[in-house]
Symmetry: C2
Subunit: 285 residues, 2 copies
């Protein structure tokens, strides 16, 4: 345990909860690491399940209420975890705390996703709230190096993984996509606003309709953060849903940038991947 | 009319017909330019409508029959036009002409789409058949510079067009995608194996489901060839279906690399774009 960890033991940690079960998993890991999680539920985004922890609910745009809740509890660290639906700026219900920052907030909404998150983090930090990443408070959730589960990629799969990783890197300066499906040296699908599961559903459809004709399992889902991405703000994540979507698309496996992609419910993922005959592999980015 | 055109007047021109109405449109333009079109229908790909021209039907893999038909008619130029479903090599029904070239053909199937087409063209050329592009035999089908139809892009649209063009250029060394949808500086969708219409259907779904929240029309479809692409072999094309798909996705307009993208049924496209409130714009690549 390093110095920082020692200092932070017992310290409260706010978790701004996007959708899905991931915020709860990070909260459990943080608690296991000695932190006291305080969950911020966002109406319309967060699961009701967050209420098993100390929590507060806010609406998108209730910036003043959010900062008030953090100050009241002397919370100086916050992690932003889970899927968020990007709102239109004009849809926000702004409270006074938001109105004070309206010019800056409206600026953010002209950015790509990455720019939006960087700007949000800057606002938090100016209020004395350090933004930390899931990898800092829950490092056991990161993709390890090498195969986990029973299967490993072939040499041809490794070539597809390398191609997918280069492709994601080439797209990254456009603040787009963290995933691609590559089969036999050919990119079948590139992720943008639709997200990974929808991209995999598309590959499944292309195969079912005969537009992509492969005999048996084919292709690898490659997932890695954009190069400039601040991992504290938006680390790519996979979970059992990803395994199921990849199995439906009849892929050969899933490759994750080791140490840079989070895995939800890892044991379940490994079991489901084994059952579906998929490899799950952490490649060195 | 330049020297080559004079020489080619009255010369037969073979058109290897992929799917859709585009091969017929190229045949009509070629005939208008004084050529004698001979259409090669591919079972499962080509429209029955090709039979209004002198033609022969072949199955995928009947390479010998195809070359025989060209030799018999002393045809020395061929254009490959229209949508093709990439077959698996193992699905091909190879005739003797294909078996003789099997090693080379199977090599091709390990390439991306672009590599596959380049290799095919090389095989034709070695048999003394020059491969020509739609832009050479039907230049009136190319996207012109500037707006056509009633509407023009705004300054913000032009920024999105520039971003989309850069993104397609960055992807082009991976032999993937000739289209992207960009809205307000953000890439919403990138095309890979699914094709442009399916990509636009995805944007329409993301909007209908509320995952993408824009008030009113938003975004531009940008279409341009890959940088290394041999335009004789696979020139991007749009048509009335593209206009309809873009209208369904509630885009603001369509931007095409001028001189490098083909437009099917241009007058109908302009009318439909005007009716849907879309701009159609040829940008200088």
């Amino acid at each position: 345990m390093n110095e920082r960890d020692e200092e932070s033991v017992g310290q409260p940690l706010a978790i701004l909860c996007g959708g899905g079960a991931f915020p709860l998993e990070v909260a459990a890991e943080a608690r296991r690491g000695g932190r006291a999680p305080f969950l911020i539920g966002v109406v319309g985004w967060s699961e009701p399940g967050i209420e098993v922890y100390p929590h507060v609910w806010v609406r998108v745009g209730e910036v003043g209420k959010l900062f008030g809740a953090l100050k009241e509890r002397s919370i100086s660290e916050l992690a932003m975890i889970g899927r968020v639906a990007r709102p239109e700026f004009s849809d926000l219900r702004l409270d006074w705390g938001a109105v004070k920052r309206a010019a800056e907030l409206s600026q953010l909404f002209r950015q790509g996703d990455n720019g939006l998150l960087i700007g949000l983090a800057r606002i938090f930090e100016r209020e004395g709230v350090r933004v930390v990443g899931a990898h800092e408070v829950a490092p056991r959730l990161l993709a390890p190096s090498g195969a986990f589960g029973a299967r490993s990629p072939s040499a041809a799969d490794e070539a597809d993984i390398a191609l997918g990783a280069s492709l994601i890197e080439a797209m990254s300066r456009f603040d787009v996509g963290q995933a691609a499906v590559v089969a036999g040296g050919r990119a079948l699908a590139l992720e943008a606003a639709e997200g990974t599961d929808a991209m995999l559903a598309r590959v499944a459809e292309l195969r079912a309709s005969g537009r992509l004709r492969h005999r048996g399992p084919a292709g690898v889902l490659v997932k890695a953060p954009k190069r400039e991405q601040d991992l504290r703000l938006d680390m790519p994540a996979v979970g059992p849903d990803t395994i199921r979507s990849a199995a439906n698309a009849r892929l050969r496996g899933i490759a994750l940038a080791a140490g840079e992609v989070l895995i939800l419910e890892r044991d379940l993922c490994a079991r489901e991947a084994d059952a579906a005959g998929l490899f799950v592999y952490g490649f060195d980015p």
